[in-house]
């Protein structure tokens, strides 16, 4: 176990905005907000829109830098998405922000009909993905990847850290068509700079090779997987990590290549319910190609999750570094 985990973690509150950064972890502040401001300098068509969550999606930085390109739509997510569609039809490049629960659950039909059916250039960037708030099911977006994967024309991104968010912003702007991107906001962990990482839309990246286990992961679970790999290395378990930030379209070629190497347990880890997310996408890709490694999922249960402090909940639902390491060791027997 890592030294950070050896001491009892200081429990944070169950407040809506809980930091996902561990004590002492390197972080970067508001990577999305800063990246969008930078992008807007080069692209005059970029506008920012939100539904009363500018401060909580780091869009306030854009609002301050480009007030004439910022639209506060009020606490009205359906309007937010419809208006984003109309603006896109008039040639603007809207970045619409809210919480992932409200985009995926409340405004789904508006995104489906007003944005996706017409293949409009709207980027939907949503905070509090998966289990990144202790505020309970009202704010825990545990089904968003399943919902947006199922939507035709939609590109779906689940970035891992601050570096990836910074790089993904111009990349999704350059992509023509609707994009749903999960957002980590506030002080966001920074780790991929140590892996010489470069985000490419639609590409999976092998961050670390390993003989015994291949963890295929997205979002913050890639951070966890890298921590698990370090922890298990001390136990002589060699864990590889394949990071898959683009959930749709899926980089099937790379997944088949890495998962097809014999002798490895394949574990898909995601900050999402076991249903309809990366795990099922990878399983379908593998089985369809006749690639059948030993396969396991680390993901959130098909349940309404508890409210509480994030470290407690991550431990309870098996997506903390410690719980994940223990689970994988158990599978290895």
């Amino acid at each position: 176990m890592s030294t950070a985990a050896a001491q009892k973690p200081k429990l944070k509150t169950s407040a809506m905005i809980a930091s996902i950064a561990a004590e002492g972890q390197r972080t970067k502040s508001a990577p999305f907000g800063h990246a969008l401001v930078e992008l807007a300098g080069a692209r005059p068509d970029v506008i920012g829109m939100t539904a009363d969550l500018g401060k909580y999606t780091d869009l306030h930085l854009f609002a301050k830098a480009y007030p004439e390109r910022y639209y506060q739509m009020g606490m009205a997510e359906q309007l937010l998405m419809g208006a984003a569609a109309g603006l896109a039809k008039e040639g603007a490049l809207p970045f619409a922000t809210t919480y992932a629960v409200f985009a995926s659950r409340r405004a789904y039909d508006f995104i489906h009909q007003t944005i996706a059916e017409d293949d409009l250039n709207v980027k939907i960037v949503c905070a509090l993905p998966g289990l990144t708030t202790g505020y309970g099911p009202s704010h825990q977006a545990t089904e968003d990847l399943a919902l947006f994967r199922a939507m035709p024309n939609m590109t779906v991104i689940d970035p891992c850290d601050a570096l990836e968010i910074e790089q993904a912003v111009p990349a999704i702007a350059a992509h023509k068509g609707p994009v749903y991107m999960r957002l980590l906001r506030g002080n966001v962990p920074l780790l991929l700079d140590e892996y010489d990482y470069k985000f490419e839309l639609g590409k999976a990246k092998l961050l670390r090779d390993g003989r015994d286990v291949l963890v295929i992961s997205s979002g913050i679970m890639t951070m966890r997987a890298l921590e698990v790999a370090q922890a298990l290395a001390d136990d002589r378990v060699d864990v590889g990590v394949l990071h898959v930030p683009t959930i749709k379209p899926l980089d099937i070629a790379t997944i088949l290549r890495e998962a097809g190497r014999s002798g490895r347990l394949v574990v898909v880890a995601e900050n999402h319910t076991t249903i309809g997310g990366l795990g099922e996408a990878v399983a379908t890709a593998l089985l369809s190609a006749g690639v059948t490694p030993p396969f396991r999922q680390i993901a959130l249960p098909d349940a309404f999750l508890d409210a509480g402090a994030l470290p407690t909940l991550h431990e309870r639902y098996g997506i903390s570094t410690e719980a994940m390491a223990k689970t994988i060791k158990g599978w290895l027997g």
Binding site: G74, A76, Q78, A84, G86, E90, D109, F110, Q113, D118
Partner: protein, 281 residues
């Protein structure tokens, strides 16, 4: 009426007749369609497309056009009838209505039809998109208007009220919304499904310049569109149009009111004849 007004009125009455006729012909092709709504809204569409709006039939994407958003996608047969009359959709395509591979599906979709600005069908969305169009047009310094047609039943949808509030907040004086009050929705009279009156008071309270008219009185429709365009306030503009399902075909108008009027196979020809009789009357 002076002679120019009389001429305008006669011209638009002829256009409305053609829109009704196109809709009946399409209804006959499929044996069904929302012809009751098409007949009720034909006067509004005639004024929109042949009096108020600026567009280029051979270039439906022309950036200087006035936008027309059909929020109630099931009224597609009515809008197709107008788009055909306007020359945006070729007359020959009329007979493809609702058929496989047609550009005229039974519910209106942006990706199918020239001149169709949005994918309707899921009700209560049009005004939200219109807000975005109106904001976008202002960004571009465009003088174009954004027209949105929606139905009284759509007033049940919360997003309509989100958009109504937002349009006033943003002072979208380039938005003109028309709500078709035919008092028919899927489960019965709209006013009984969910009471919506007093609608003028509500719209005015929401900050809209509001007019209520008989939507089948062509002269009133013309005046309302003119006033909506010319209103000097920095407000969005609402036209509440009370209409009659089946208007123009007396035996359909008299039929027991339904959201989806039943027209038997032999009745299409009778309906066309009744429409013609009204034209020459």
């Amino acid at each position: 009426m002076d002679s120019s007004v009389t001429a305008t009125h006669a011209h638009l009455a002829e256009r409305a007749y053609h829109i009704r006729r196109n809709a009946l012909l399409m209804g006959e092709v499929q044996g069904q369609g929302y012809v009751g709504q098409a007949l009720d809204i034909a006067d509004v569409l005639a004024v929109a497309y042949f009096h108020a709006m600026d567009y280029r039939p051979d270039d439906p994407e022309w950036d200087g056009r006035d936008r027309f958003l059909l929020s109630n996608g099931h009224y597609a047969i009515a809008l197709y009838a107008a788009l055909i009359e306007a020359g945006i959709v070729p007359q020959e395509e009329l007979e493809t209505y609702g058929s496989d591979d047609s550009r005229l599906p039974m519910s209106g979709m942006a990706s199918y039809t020239p001149g169709m600005e949005m994918s309707g069908g899921s009700l209560g969305q049009g005004l939200t998109i219109a807000v975005g169009h109106a904001l976008g047009l202002k960004r571009k310094g465009s003088k174009s208007f954004v027209y949105t047609l929606f139905s009284d039943g759509e007033l049940d949808e919360g997003a309509v009220w989100e958009a109504l509030m937002s349009a006033a907040h943003w002072q979208l004086d380039n938005m003109i919304a028309i709500v078709d009050i035919n008092n028919q929705q899927a489960d019965g009279p709209s006013s009984q499904v969910m009471a919506f009156e007093p609608l003028v008071d509500k719209m005015e309270a929401f900050g809209w310049f509001t007019q209520r008219i008989d939507g089948n009185d062509l002269a009133a429709v013309i005046r309302a569109f003119d006033a909506a365009r010319e209103h000097p306030g920095r407000q969005p503009r609402m036209i509440i149009a009370d209409t009659r399902m089946g208007c123009g075909v007396p035996f359909l108008e008299a039929r027991e009111k339904n959201h989806f009027i039943r027209v038997d196979a032999h009745e299409w020809q009778l309906a066309l004849e009744a429409l013609d009789a009204g034209r020459t009357a």
